[in-house]
Symmetry: C2
Subunit: 252 residues, 2 copies
């Protein structure tokens, strides 16, 4: 690919998300902390409040939102680019539409190219929120999304575990070095009372948006949005959404 | 780097692990399933049985074994290459010795180079087992390790969740396509009785090595090997190790 073509695509991307008010990159230091569940529930709850919401699953490492939301046979429509289908009121796009559940080990450059391509062709239209389900950790994708969407705000998900928080510290360090905004931290899968994450987040100058208890009924609700919306986890996310809206309002 | 230099390093790697009998790549479809805990406990339990064990943490995405095993101030010694320090009876090497807890977002090629370099300089000596804590999922690192250590046997860790197993299926598909041996699957963090993973593993022709119940006391044992060895989780791994040894014996 010549650098001229690349430049064209980058400016197309700016154009594509011109009418998106907030880009929230839901991220984590490591996998398995519930990042995709948070991104899915946050998108649903914001849409129910009347916001125009897009959800973009670029977690190439383990895409999950299509299972959580049961997107079924929905497909993007081709029309001067591609238009994301509406899933439960959300404009939905996922890398899985183009990988078809095949194992797709993308080397760095291929990934970057696939991401640029998807970003350049997707017509999000007017949105209040574009929620991006990021790959976990500090990877090519993290760097790419920062480069491609300069006004992304990062929402970081962690568990109470020190193993998870060790990786969160690295992510925060990287984002700070790159002067990327971190809108707050969400603590998921709490199994007992502890202020460890809250205190550490505040020490790093990051807003603690709230904690959500471990919900053993969550697994059975995957793929059934009606049931998912009634879980204790989902109610936790509704409160987090409230805090997120406050955080966004307070920085304006 | 010229291709000649590359070839030299690749043949050095073969030489470095010539006296290693079994290379066990502890892998997972996604992060957060307890892969590093399994790799750490497996290494410890094999060492206690009198096997000569090395543990190599190449999980660039979220290295954790140095925290689990509390490696402290230990450092490799330089002597015609580098000699891994002995930690609790294990020859231990980690990418963190060279990244020093700084955020190190390695692009594809850099990662590959760093991995080749580490593999080329580390003097493992005579080992019965080299346990490799892999990065989660299907990434450059998975492909690299398959290329660099052709006789790796993969041990796959999953949770009971369908989100985790979806990603395991992709990993198995990739490994099968590349004709890489899968020695078995370990189910971690079980919170109730279920045969879902066992049945699905067997259907895919993969040996189910056992399930380990969710252990809420595990978090407090991280970094304290004495305490870690007394957890319910660790006892589960002792049984898994038994099954692993049987699996290795039965294929000879």
């Amino acid at each position: 690919m010549g650098s001229e073509l690349k430049d064209v695509r980058l400016s197309v991307i700016d154009e594509r998300i011109k009418s998106v008010k907030n880009v929230i990159a839901v991220s984590s230091g490591k996998g398995g902390v519930g990042k995709s569940l948070v991104a899915s529930a946050l998108s649903l709850t914001l849409a129910r409040r009347g916001y125009r919401v897009g959800l973009f699953d670029i977690d190439f490492t383990s895409p999950s939102t299509h299972i959580i939301l049961d997107v079924g046979e929905s497909r993007p429509i081709e029309d001067r680019g591609i238009v994301p289908p509406k899933i439960h009121g959300i404009s939905y796009m996922s890398i899985t539409y183009y990988s078809e559940d095949k194992p797709t080990p993308l080397r760095g450059v291929d990934f970057s190219n696939a991401l640029i391509e998807l970003m350049a062709i997707t017509r999000w239209g007017d949105l209040d929120f574009l929620v991006v389900d990021m790959p976990p950790g500090i990877s090519d994708a993290t760097l790419d999304i920062i480069r491609l969407i300069k006004r992304s705000k990062f929402l970081i998900v962690t568990t109470p575990s020190k193993l998870a928080f060790e990786t969160v510290k690295k992510l925060i360090k990287l984002l700070s070095d790159l002067r990327v905004e971190i809108i707050g931290i969400v603590e998921n899968m709490k199994i007992r009372k502890s202020d460890f994450i809250k205190l550490n987040a505040e020490e790093l100058g990051i807003r603690y948006l709230g904690g959500i208890n471990f919900d053993e009924n969550l697994e059975d609700a995957l793929g059934d949005v009606g049931r998912f919306s009634k879980t204790q986890f989902f109610r936790g996310i509704e409160e987090i959404a409230e805090e997120l809206l406050k955080a966004l309002a307070s920085r304006a």
